[in-house]
């Protein structure tokens, strides 16, 4: 939970954190396999189901991956695509709709089993799994994969859940160990070649989600080349690297030692996979529409030009999906800066905001997203629909209620406060101005303060001191979780214990005992999954009652699928097509 979106936002730029998207309902309910292509068909069903083998599947990416090394990556699209060559202990079920949020075993035989005190998680590996070169996969390889992520000087990009959660947090990593097979990390033990145990500092019920991060994909110690391992990660997935030129592209071919039986969540249909890097984003769209490439790897939706083409042509629109990205655009309403320390004043802002203008600012209903009334987006486990401030029923703002709330706050004529936003994010600049214009209708004056996004979470909005000194009552932000449940989404942005002096993500500084208690309850090791999931909506509702967060839009991306691609559907966890199961048909 440490780095969730602060890191995503700072490092990835637009990869996961800005997306476009649109339309109304996402999957979950739809029929499971619909063959025909229609708008949003891949949200609820599989488009072009096929078992045809052969052909070349081509991905294109406008930028470069942070790394193709499963132990060293934090981009959403690389987590998705590394499934082609790296199978973690646990993975997400490959299916359309919200079923794609469920965990399922990867190289483990079942999800992790936790000890009674909540401190030891045990996984058993499937027997007979092999790396691409035929050597068997053992628990030591998984342990080594976890160990190497401890050395941030070699592998700097991945998340750092393991050092945070596991005992022995100061382990320096295997590269400083000299002898490669020392296996010095004491908090991960391997009782036998097919069993691995993780020893935690504190109980952590969501540990299975951590085990689903690509960092648990096995790495053979004698093949590890540190930061160069990304050039040829040793495959446990359906494909293996044939060639990879940094910043240019990679070619993958069938992994002969992979078996469908052992890895039902992936497929080996195309006989070759090509990943082109550093292709101009508009060029990707044009080639996608022309059928020259199959998938835009970034998965954050087409650019404005292609969007206009797709949305104005029914035949192109049939080939597109408007997927929820799992991302929320919102504004933090600070609970400590006067007069926003009075909940009624924050509620006045909730009522007065013009949600339609906010939606337009983020790109409209298709590329921006759906108007939000809750903190958790619909593709998060624990989402429940409610609308305390008439965001959906009166999207242009409920000015009567806003004025009543202002009166209750003792500021009947409105007030003045600061609004922080990232000045190098054009959509956020637009959203800030639209909020300023909307709140002016009830006499609330916002003074705009733009900051660079690189230091937004460390020095400005993420520093409570700075926020107080500069009277920043409202701070724009965006958020996505590393795993799709209420804990992953809500903890860092609403738990009172997470307020820190720098890099703060609970920017509204909500420290509500009700919310804090619910978090304590939810993380108790004795809770069943169903009990735990019943708590998340309560937290969401309490945050909205406190008006600590002004939700703007559930981000959506307008994705385009080449008609030649088979087995296409949106994996709800990524908010993009599931890259592990795609094939190509010949003849189109």
């Amino acid at each position: 939970m440490i780095a969730t979106c602060a890191a995503l936002l700072a490092g990835l730029g637009l990869a996961a954190c800005s997306s476009g998207g649109s339309s109304t309902s996402s999957g979950g309910s739809g029929s499971s396999t619909s063959g025909s292509a229609s708008f949003n068909a891949a949200l609820s069903g599989v488009v072009n189901p096929s078992t045809h083998k052969g052909g070349t599947l081509t991905f294109a990416e406008s930028s470069t991956p942070d790394s193709f090394d499963p132990g060293n990556t934090y981009y959403a699209w690389t987590w998705n695509i590394t499934r082609l060559w790296a199978t973690p202990l646990v993975t997400y079920e490959s299916c359309p709709g919200n079923c794609g949020l469920q965990l399922t075993p990867g190289i483990a035989t079942s999800l992790g089993v936790v000890s009674d005190n909540g401190l030891v998680w045990t996984y058993h590996l499937k027997q007979g799994l092999k790396f691409e070169d035929g050597t068997p996969v053992t628990s030591e390889d998984v342990k080594y994969a976890v160990e190497r992520t401890y050395d941030r000087s070699v592998l700097a990009n991945g998340p750092s859940y393991f050092p945070t959660l596991l005992a022995d947090p100061t382990y320096p990593g295997p590269y400083k160990d000299r002898s490669k097979n020392l296996m010095g990390l004491t908090s991960v033990t391997t009782p036998d070649a097919y069993t691995i145990q993780f020893h935690l500092q504190h109980p952590f019920p969501d540990f299975n989600y951590v085990a689903a991060i690509p960092q648990t994909a096995p790495v053979p110690p004698d093949k590890d080349t540190g930061s160069n391992y990304q050039l040829h990660p040793v495959s446990t997935g359906p494909y293996m690297f044939q060639s990879y030129q940094l910043n240019k592209g990679a070619a993958l071919v069938d992994n002969p030692n992979w078996t469908q039986n052992e890895d039902p969540q992936a497929k080996q249909l195309a006989s070759k996979v090509v990943i082109d890097l550093n292709v101009n984003a508009d060029d990707i769209d044009n080639r996608l529409l022309a059928g020259d490439i199959d998938i835009d790897a970034a998965g954050t939706g087409v650019q404005a030009a292609a969007r206009a083409k797709i949305l104005s042509s029914p035949s192109l629109m049939k080939q597109s999906d408007d997927a929820l990205s799992g991302f929320l655009w919102f504004a933090y309403l600070n609970t400590k800066v006067a007069p926003l320390n009075n909940a009624s004043c924050r509620q006045a802002i909730e009522y007065a905001a013009n949600k339609t203008d906010q939606q337009t600012a983020y790109g409209g209903p298709y590329a921006g997203g759906a108007i939000a009334s809750t903190v958790m987006p619909p593709n998060i486990i624990g989402h429940q629909n409610f609308d305390y401030y008439n965001a959906v029923s009166q999207p242009s703002g409920d000015l009567t209620a806003a004025k009543a709330a202002l009166k209750a706050c003792g500021q009947p004529n409105g007030f003045t406060t600061g609004l922080a936003y990232r000045s190098d994010r054009p959509k956020e600049v637009q959203a800030a101005q639209s909020l300023q214009a909307a709140l002016a209708r009830v006499g609330i004056t916002l003074q705009l303060h733009g900051y660079p996004s690189g230091t937004y979470y460390t020095d400005f909005a993420g520093s409570p001191n700075y926020v107080h000194q500069h009277d920043l009552g409202i701070d724009m932000g965006g958020w996505a979780a590393d795993w799709p449940d209420g804990y992953g989404f809500l903890d860092e942005i609403s738990n009172g214990n997470t307020i820190v002096p720098s890099g703060n993500t609970n920017i509204e500084e909500l420290n509500d005992p009700v919310v804090n208690n619910l978090f304590t309850q939810a993380t108790s090791p004795t809770l069943t999954a169903a009990q735990e999931q019943a708590i998340w909506p309560q937290i969401d509702q309490q945050i909205m009652k406190d008006a600590g967060i002004l939700p703007e839009v559930y981000a959506k991306s307008l994705l385009y699928r080449n008609p030649a691609v088979t087995n296409v559907y949106v994996q709800a966890y990524y908010g993009m097509y599931n890259y592990a199961v795609l094939g190509v048909s010949t003849g189109t």
């Binding site: 030009a305 409209g364 000045s423 190098d424 600049v429 637009q430 003074q447």
Partner: protein
């Protein structure tokens, strides 16, 4: 350019003798200024530039009182699916002669007109700052020579070699929203003027220094010195009047550079604070949000505004140089 080279018989230029020949009109000596003004007036291109400049200044001064509020949202004029204005040509209509902005529906004419005030204000003030600093140090370096000259000339080299854009982005990012008793856009405008002007002075300084080096050996300076004039008198009473021509010319040419630089800073997001209209920010928005495809007018209009302004100043400045100093033609 379009003047025909063939002299047509009936259209001969009135020769100088025509003036001399007319009886009763006393022959007047013409000052250098009058000669330059005549030359300038004959330069149609420069005059056109000058007229555009005057119009722009008028627009910047009175325009904002005549247009609608540039910050009023007109969401009803926007197609929410594409975020672009309804209707063709960026939503041009009688109510909005230049159309409306995508996403917000704010009136483009109002934003261009109010934006011109900021563009020109920053352009002029930054140029004034650069000229004052540049002339002061240029004269001193050129006149005194020796180690003073070396010091100032090297300082100018340092300024010229400075990665200005990076510095500007850094300083605008670091300075808080209120400092030195200023806040909001007043502070931002002062900051932009300071950054742009403070780094543009060496161009002026070098030119003045060169001029002064040639002037200081002239007889009139020797004469002044021989009757006991001292440094400051010679610098500012004898030399400065002879520098009016280059100062005028190069400041006219510096203004468009500064306007462009301001637009560039705005483009990079370190310019004026929204929702204050700014030409550079409109361009930036059009490019980074991809509006150039779905609403090209949003890019064309601020682009044209910058283009016309910069070209008018450049044409006028070139004409002025030709008029004041025909040798450089």
């Amino acid at each position: 350019m379009t003047v025909s080279v063939e002299p047509s018989p009936g259209q001969r230029e009135p020769a100088p003798e025509a003036v001399a020949a007319s009886p009763g009109v006393p022959i007047e000596g013409r000052s250098l200024g009058q000669i330059a003004w005549r030359r300038l007036r004959r330069d149609k291109v420069a005059m056109a530039g000058g007229i555009i400049i005057i119009l722009l200044i008028l627009v910047a001064i009175v325009g904002p009182y005549l247009v609608q509020n540039p910050n009023t949202y007109n969401s009803n004029l926007i197609n929410p699916t594409f975020s672009r204005p309804n209707g063709s040509w960026g939503g041009i209509s009688l109510a909005h002669p230049l159309g409306v902005e995508p996403v917000t529906g704010r009136d483009m004419l109002a934003r261009i007109v109010v934006g011109s005030r900021y563009s020109l204000l920053i352009g002029f003030l930054a140029t004034a700052l650069a000229v004052v600093i540049g002339v002061f140090f240029g004269i001193i370096a050129g006149y005194f020579g020796g180690w003073v000259d070396t010091l100032i000339a090297r300082a100018m080299d340092v300024f010229l070699a400075f990665p200005l854009l990076v510095f500007a982005i850094a300083i605008v990012g670091v300075v808080p929203n209120s400092a030195w008793g200023l806040s909001g856009n007043t502070l931002r405008v002062s900051l932009l003027v300071f950054i742009i002007g403070f780094f543009a002075w060496p161009y002026m300084g070098r030119i003045i220094r060169g001029q002064v080096i040639s002037l200081r050996e002239r007889e009139f300076v020797d004469a002044a010195r021989s009757i006991g004039a001292r440094g400051p008198y010679i610098l500012f009473r004898e030399l400065l009047p002879n520098l009016v021509a280059p100062i005028l010319v190069y400041s006219t040419l510096l203004i468009p550079t500064n306007i462009l630089f301001e637009a560039a800073l705005d483009y990079l997001g370190v310019g004026l604070i929204p929702p204050t209209p700014s030409w550079g920010q409109m361009l930036s928005n059009a490019v980074t949000n991809g509006f150039y495809y779905i609403d090209p007018m949003y890019m064309v209009i601020p682009g044209l505004a910058i283009f016309i302004t910069v070209m008018a100043f450049n044409l006028f400045g070139d004409g002025l140089r030709d008029a004041l100093d025909p040798r450089t033609r």
